[in-house]
């Protein structure tokens, strides 16, 4: 755990750095940066690296907005439509959490990355596994929670080859007696929650086009919302809405292309000028490039029933070689607000115009009503891959603040007048040129792993990376019979010497309240509870409980494999509070263990091995559910 350590770490490092003189030029530049009308809550170190600010004297400000009532179940990965991942159960608290004991376990029998959140409905727990995407139902009313049934969707094995970053699945959603989820080979399935019988399945994508599916669907207004993965494979991204009863396609909203394909019509009113205009999904690309321009929808969707809007982000544009796609590459790397019934776009904001660094914008969107400058506003919070936590007005798409929560060198802030991200010229990649210290690295300051919000503390708990990367000279590569040349990316810990952090963030003031460094990227989700205890897991397999107010570690348990799953909290049939999490390392960050990569090859798994080289020393693969409760 660490309080405002960035500056200390850096002052001591730069003092001893023999190259310190070279950085004088940078610091002059950084003084100029501060004069720009950028968001204010950041500081810059001697090397021009943007760092988060720490709030030294945080006063707890409980949330005054309204949250969905909690019945102790867990119906969808994000818990509620606002995506708080907050449990109002409080049996487990800071005073007794150290007594937490294992209640039962369950092996999935699989060795790939387990990223899903378990669901708990009607005293049954549901678990979706990575490929081959089995669905297990466990009976919570019986001792040891024995298996009720298992449903096997039998996806085609060829799909494994098109999943870019391990064959993960991020979970299922429950609605009206049915479980909905996606298979890696692009089928959305609907399974009877009682019997395990398949009610329908709809094929929504094609692996031959490089499409695959890993995201958890959201069911809103009787529609199952599903999106595609595969930005690394020349796909054209989309979000589809299926009728929850029949599985029939209701509408498709493409990320790029003509307005009619993107479902942009007269109701589309983006806040900023650069997002307005006709057919920007075509015009902001070279001819035809939007057809293969990526922009997948593989992350999270939130829903505001009052505004009747859904919110979700779009992934990075393709190809990675940004020179080949001049223009803003709309509507990739941004956020859409859409009508929940028709899918019509209401507004859009681009976090990373013409993305240069694989900064997908698919992270979770937390919908809250917060006091901003004395006025309660309907906001959304986005801890973005590009390193900033965005606070936006969710009715209009206006950016209210954007403050760094991890070290940043690629940009120097967001101009709040224009909404434009300010790129740093000398960090722009060019083919054939070696680039050093690109921060955040390609997986971003934070990837898909969702944060949790506690209304009791008013804080957002963000699991994230702390990584930079170098883009090395080109190396010969090979796909589908054809040789080509690609960039060689090597990732490593950002200054401070650790690869990940678990950060408590004050969303109103845009500052870090406390943060806990971890050796590896923190790739698990988080759950906040009314007992003022927050849970998360580490890639070397520690499942941790920390004090929601102080960040003090209260309890930990070593699971059999690294944790990249999403913990949940539920009320069992015995009225006791339980905490559940899937262990099973993998995903992009854990590919070194799940895929058995050679740690000597730092460029493997798109460069991630460089940052996780020693992970095999700490953990091994293997999917297992762990459920805890008080004795």
């Amino acid at each position: 755990m660490r309080h405002s350590a960035y500056r200390d770490v850096w002052s001591s490092k730069t003092q001893h750095n023999p190259r310190a003189k070279e950085f004088v030029a940078f610091s002059i530049v950084s003084v100029l940066f501060l004069a720009l009308p950028l968001s204010s809550h950041s500081q810059t170190n001697a090397r021009g690296m943007l760092l988060p600010q720490t709030e030294s004297n945080y006063q707890i400000r409980p949330y005054e907005g309204k949250l969905d009532p909690d019945d102790g179940q867990w119906l969808r990965p994000a818990k509620d439509y606002a995506s708080t991942r907050y449990s109002s159960l409080d049996q487990i608290n800071a005073g007794n959490v150290q007594n937490l004991k294992l209640a039962f376990t369950f092996s999935t029998g699989l060795t790939k990355g387990h990223e899903a959140a378990p669901l708990v409905v009607n005293n049954t727990m549901y678990i979706v596994t990575p490929w081959p995407n089995k669905l297990y139902a466990l009976d919570l009313t019986k001792p040891g929670a024995p298996m009720k049934w298992v449903y096997l969707p039998m996806p085609t094995p060829a799909a494994q080859g098109v999943a870019c970053c391990d064959v993960v699945n991020r979970g299922a959603s429950y609605f009206d007696g049915k479980i909905y989820y996606n298979t890696l080979d692009n089928q959305t399935v609907c399974v009877d929650a009682n019997s395990g019988k398949e009610l329908w399945r709809t094929r929504v994508g094609d692996i031959n086009k490089g499409e695959s599916m890993t995201m958890a669907p959201l069911v809103a207004k009787g529609r199952v919302l599903v999106g595609v993965s595969g930005g690394e494979f020349g796909i054209r991204g989309w979000l589809k809405a299926l009728d929850a009863k029949s599985g029939k396609l209701a509408w498709t909203a493409y990320t790029a292309g003509p307005d009619k394909d993107v479902l942009i019509g007269p109701r589309f009113k983006p806040f900023y000028a650069q997002d307005r205009g006709q057919d920007l999904g075509v015009k902001s690309w070279p001819p035809d490039a939007w057809k293969i321009g990526g922009g997948g929808v593989w992350g999270w969707i939130s829903y505001d029933p009052d505004l009747n809007l859904i919110y979700y982000g779009t992934a990075n544009p393709g190809p990675w070689d940004a020179d080949a796609r001049p223009g803003d590459n709309k509507f990739t790397a941004g956020i859409f607000a859409r009508d929940a019934d028709t899918g019509e776009a209401i507004w859009y904001y681009q976090f990373s115009p013409h993305d240069l660094y694989d900064y997908d914008a698919v992270n979770e969107t937390i919908l809250l009503d917060l006091p901003i400058k004395g006025q309660s506003r309907k906001v959304l919070i986005r801890p973005e891959r590009n390193g900033y936590v965005y606070l936006m007005d969710r009715t209009t798409g206006e950016v209210l603040s954007a403050d760094p929560f991890a070290p940043i060198t690629t940009t120097r802030g967001v101009d709040l007048k224009t909404g434009l991200l300010q790129y740093v010229e000398e960090k722009k990649p060019t083919r054939g040129k070696a680039l050093r210290e690109i921060c955040p690295a390609a997986p971003g300051a934070k990837d898909w792993q969702p944060s949790a919000f506690s209304p009791k503390t008013g804080l957002l708990y963000i699991p994230h990376q702390h990584l930079c990367m170098d883009e090395e000279t080109v190396s010969v590569n090979y796909i589908a019979g054809t040789p080509y040349v690609g960039a060689n990316v090597v990732m490593y810990d950002a200054p401070g010497g650790y690869g990940g952090e678990f950060t408590a963030w004050d969303p109103v003031n845009g500052k870090v309240v406390w943060s806990i460094p971890d050796h590896f990227p923190v790739w698990s989700g988080a759950v906040a509870t009314a007992g003022n205890v927050v849970f998360y897991g580490t890639m070397d397999g520690w499942f941790k409980a920390v004090d929601a107010i102080t960040g003090k570690q209260l309890w930990q348990f070593k699971t059999g494999s690294g944790i990249i799953g999403q913990p949940i909290s539920y009320k069992g049939p015995d009225d006791k509070q339980y905490i559940a999490v899937l262990s099973g390392v993998g995903g992009w960050a854990g590919a070194i263990v799940a895929g058995g990569l050679d740690p000597r090859d730092k460029g493997a798994a798109l460069g991630f091995v460089g940052a996780t080289q020693d992970l095999p020393k700490f953990t091994n693969q293997g999917g297992m559910l762990y459920v805890f409760t008080l004795p």
């Binding site: 060829a158 494994q160 080859g161 098109v162 999943a163 870019c164 970053c165 391990d166 692996i207 031959n208 086009k209 490089g210 690394e232 494979f233 020349g234 070279p286 001819p287 035809d288 490039a289 057809k291 293969i292 393709g318 190809p319 990675w320 070689d321 020179d323 080949a324 796609r325 001049p326 083919r431 054939g432 000279t473 080109v474 190396s475 010969v476 590569n477 090979y478 796909i479 589908a480 019979g481 054809t482 040789p483 080509y484 040349v485 690609g486 590919a591 895929g595 058995g596 990569l597 050679d598 090859d601 493997a604 798994a605 798109l606």
Partner: protein
Amino acid sequence: MCLRFPKRSQAVIFSIWLFVGLAHSRDLRVCADPDNLPFSNTKQQGFENRIAEVVARDLHAHLIYQWQRMGRGFVREYLDTSKCDLLIEVPSAFRPLLTTSPYYRSAFVFVTRRDHRLQVASLDDPALRHLKIGVEVLQEDYTPPGTALARRGLQNQIVGFDRTGEKGDSIIRAVANRRVDAAIVWGPLAGYFAQKFGNSLQLNLLSPELDPPGLPFTFSISMGVRKGNTALRDELEAVLRRRGSEIRGVLHRYGVPQLELAQTSGGEN
């Protein structure tokens, strides 16, 4: 082809080969794409299938395919875990694998219609500014010519073609059907599919051969095995020496444009 092996290792190879030959129960596990002509498919119609047969026959091995689309992570998923032992084709300088000496060399080519009389070959030909140029998309990237065109400010001339499965010939068909004026395509694919349009398409070797500072359009191709599997690599070297002309004959029949193998090749590109 250069023969770089000292006599002693040849003797070792021979004895391994002899042992295996006598044992009669050897499997040669080859990873191949299930649907990617002209390279391979499950009907075994591709030239990698033909070459695999030549190798298996020579080694008296039983040929077993692991059908798998080659995407990212492919090497670690399939070769590193011993699901297969051999890739028939990889660039000679492909670092994740141990490669043999190159057995052929090919290049990206300009494909145009003969009746169009364009005669373009150079990326610096001013005529390109007025052409629609098809370029293949390889999962996360354009092929190298796409990058080279973008660098010349010609990105607006590019038409990207997704190229997997049964759509493999779409970029060549687009030239024949006048959807694009030209296409820059990896030689083996271009040569094979151009045959289907009789004599109507023209293939010109792309120039320059290497775009500064380091973007090659010409690649030597080797067989690839798991790192550390020098025994199999050495066996394959011997097969290539014995069967080199037969293999080049296969490539010729599939219309693969072949460049002369440089004497020093093996680690360049």
